[in-house]
């Protein structure tokens, strides 16, 4: 997938990625490029149609200067607002938004639920590491109850969001959750999101070895043991996080619907202008 990365820039190398050793962000970029590579091959999507937009935080850094694609590294929590604008300019864009649990669940919460409600054509990859990595391990709206972080030294007393339920209720037609330890499922979901017209939320549990103070390998093993596929979730599933596809509907995408308004001015026989 190095062909999709700018190894060298005019002023020198752009790699290695800025992420800490074993960070999930690099893996999600890897999986995304695998999905995009397949779409270019199988669906003959032109490269110029892809647009990668990210907010601020470790996940935000994915678009900062590595990609051989159009991209935007925007403001903390506002990537979806920028994506909405891009779709108004060109509804054909295939947009992937890289965001984090703080970027989307905290400062970007309002833009997140409105994007889902409007059903704009965007594939949201929300890397959920349950904390703020870039600024040093503060708690996030997804931090589990009781967790100790640099801003909850005496244990976190706030319940965590379930971003997938939030997206579903807000109206997103495609909602799925995987982890960085499920590469093939993540790649398939990203392809599905990009093929489907409308808002696709793919929450990806992603490890932060530095602030969780555990090795990447241990954390990835944890993702396998502490999750259970929603379809298999019959026996005791207490304490396990559900993964899988939570909803997969067909809903008219915002631009599809708005296009009718635009097109009505082309139909001559209707008496719109009186």
């Amino acid at each position: 997938m190095l062909k999709y990365l700018k190894e060298e820039g005019p002023l020198g190398p752009r790699l290695p990625l800025i992420f800490c050793p074993g960070c999930g962000s690099g893996q999600v970029l890897n999986y995304t490029l695998h999905a995009v590579d397949k779409l270019i091959e199988e669906d003959e999507v032109r490269r110029e149609n892809f647009l990668f937009i990210s907010g601020i935080g470790c996940s935000g850094r994915i678009t900062s200067h590595y990609l051989n694609f159009d991209s935007a590294w925007t403001i903390h929590g506002r990537a979806l607002a920028v994506a909405t604008g891009a779709l108004l300019a060109n509804p054909a864009f295939k947009i992937v938004v890289f965001t984090g649990d703080g970027d989307t669940g905290s400062i970007g919460g309002n833009h997140f639920i409105h994007a889902c409600r409007r059903n704009i054509d965007v594939t949201i990859l929300c890397l959920n590491n349950g904390l703020y990595g870039m600024t040093g391990g503060q708690h996030a709206p997804t931090t589990p109850l009781g967790a100790i972080t640099t801003t909850t030294p005496y244990s976190n007393r706030e319940e965590a969001f379930d971003l997938c339920k939030l997206a579903e209720i807000a109206g997103a037609p495609y909602v799925a959750r995987w982890t960085t330890a499920h590469p093939q499922q993540v790649i398939k979901s990203i392809m599905k999101g990009l093929r489907k017209k409308g808002t696709a939320l793919i929450e990806i549990l992603s490890q932060c070895p530095v602030h969780e103070k555990m090795s990447p390998v241990t954390l990835l093993k944890g993702f396998r043991t502490k999750t259970i596929h929603v379809n298999k979730a019959k026996e005791s599933t207490v304490g396990k996080t559900f993964i899988g596809e939570f909803c997969d509907l067909d809903k008219r995408e915002w631009n599809e619907s708005y296009q009718e308004i635009i097109d009505q001015f082309l139909r001559t026989n209707d008496k719109i202008d009186e």
């Binding site: 903390h76 929590g77 905290s106 400062i107 600024t135 640099t150 801003t151 030294p153």
Partner: protein, 399 residues
């Protein structure tokens, strides 16, 4: 670690036992301002993580509950500033700290706080901008501090230049905000925010702490109470005091009535706010001066740059005896124009070193244009000036 610093020493655990004992400590600027806030009676911190201000939050999350206060990490900076309005009107002194991008998000709320005369303190640990910029130091928000909030209402802004001043000026910020019923901004550079230096903590009872005047203390019963009346600085009834306070930020008359709008009411309302702060600039503002008497040239600076300026001034005097005067603005806003004009004689050149492209040089030039041949700005980008850089610019301009 803070837990060790704040730990009480043996006697029964009361919230007061967690205050730092008088003595010499070694804290980071971002931590010293939190100790200052607690000493000033602040008991609510609402903030959002942003480099380079995040240490204030982490330290606040450890220290506030120890002394019976509350810390919360809000969903963003707008929410944090709004929480300060709620806490302040709820009767508790409130604090947040942020950096450039967050400071921009808070401007609407600061404007509401100016109009509603809400005491609160916002610390801006400035980083290089504009935009995402970088996480190193700058002084690029000092004009936004004055003109960033819509409507042009006045504001108080202080500029600490050491860890000790991060402690002292945060206390002063709370006192000014309570005394003049206004938001007070503490404009810091990342340099001072992240710097560690010895900090002397005085005995608590030796620290002057000002509380807002309350109608109850002045014998004004609810039925006679004018939320924005009774004097230049109106006594402030809080929610829960039984005064049925209707907080508004619309143009209002002293009784808070927003129904009888008129241009005169608007003018009166804004003019009163302006006079409250700008009209008392000499009492509110503070500057520090050295080597002024008979100086040929003059450096005017503020914040972290004053550390470099003082090093350069000493070297200048030690070396070739260049007569270089030194003024440090401890208060940026309200700008102490009259005070400056009283103490500055006629000089050849005024140098204004700033970690931006030249911002405070404008009010300085306006105030002292007729006292010098020229005002020379010495800019820097995302890094503290070195003494060599300032001295070389001075040699160029004056040789």
């Amino acid at each position: 670690m803070a837990k060790k610093i704040g730990a009480h020493d043996g006697e029964n655990r009361t919230h007061d036992s967690y205050f730092l004992k008088p003595g010499r400590y070694y804290l980071q600027g971002n931590q010293a301002c939190i100790e200052g806030a607690l000493m000033a009676g602040c008991r609510v911190y609402a903030g959002y993580p942003i480099t380079p201000a995040v240490e204030t939050m982490e330290y606040a999350s450890q220290r506030f509950p120890q002394v019976g206060g509350r810390f919360i990490q809000m969903e963003d900076e707008i929410a944090s500033a709004c929480a300060l309005i709620g806490s302040s009107w709820g009767g508790v002194k409130a604090l947040t700290a942020t950096s450039g991008p967050g400071f921009s998000l808070m401007q609407e709320t600061i404007s509401i706080a100016v109009m509603s005369e809400t005491p609160m303190v916002i610390i801006d640990i400035q980083r290089a901008g504009p935009g995402q910029g970088y996480i190193t130091a700058s002084q690029q928000d000092v004009m936004q501090a004055r003109w960033g909030h819509h409507g042009g209402g006045p504001i108080i802004a202080l500029a600490p230049s050491s860890v000790q001043e991060m402690f002292d000026l945060t206390i002063e910020a709370f006192n000014l905000s309570e005394q003049w019923r206004t938001p007070v901004l503490v404009m810091v550079e990342e340099t001072v925010g992240h710097m560690r230096e010895p900090l002397v903590i005085p005995p608590r009872d030796a620290i002057e702490v000002i509380e807002r005047k309350k109608p109850q203390d002045l014998g004004i019963p609810p039925q006679d109470y004018l939320p924005w009346g009774h004097g230049v600085v109106a006594p402030m009834a809080n929610w829960g005091d039984g005064y049925n306070v209707n907080f508004v930020a619309l143009v209002h008359l002293e009784d808070g009535n927003i129904a009888r709008y008129s241009p005169q009411a608007n003018y009166h309302c804004v003019e009163r706010l302006q006079n409250k702060i700008e009209g008392n600039v000499d009492e509110i503002s503070r500057i520090e001066t050295k080597f002024l008497e008979g100086c040929k040239h003059l450096i005017i600076c503020y914040g972290a740059v004053s550390r470099t300026a003082m090093e350069a001034v000493i070297e200048a005097h030690e070396g070739n005896g260049l007569e270089l005067g030194y003024i440090r603005l401890v208060t940026l806003w309200p700008f102490p124009e009259e005070k400056m004009r009283k103490i500055v004689g006629n000089v050849d050149t005024i140098f204004v070193p700033e970690m931006n492209l030249g911002m405070m040089r404008h009010p300085i030039t306006e105030a002292l244009r007729d006292r010098c041949k020229k005002v020379v700005s010495i800019p820097s980008f995302g890094i503290l000036h070195s003494p060599e850089y300032i001295l070389s610019r001075i040699q160029e301009e004056t040789s």
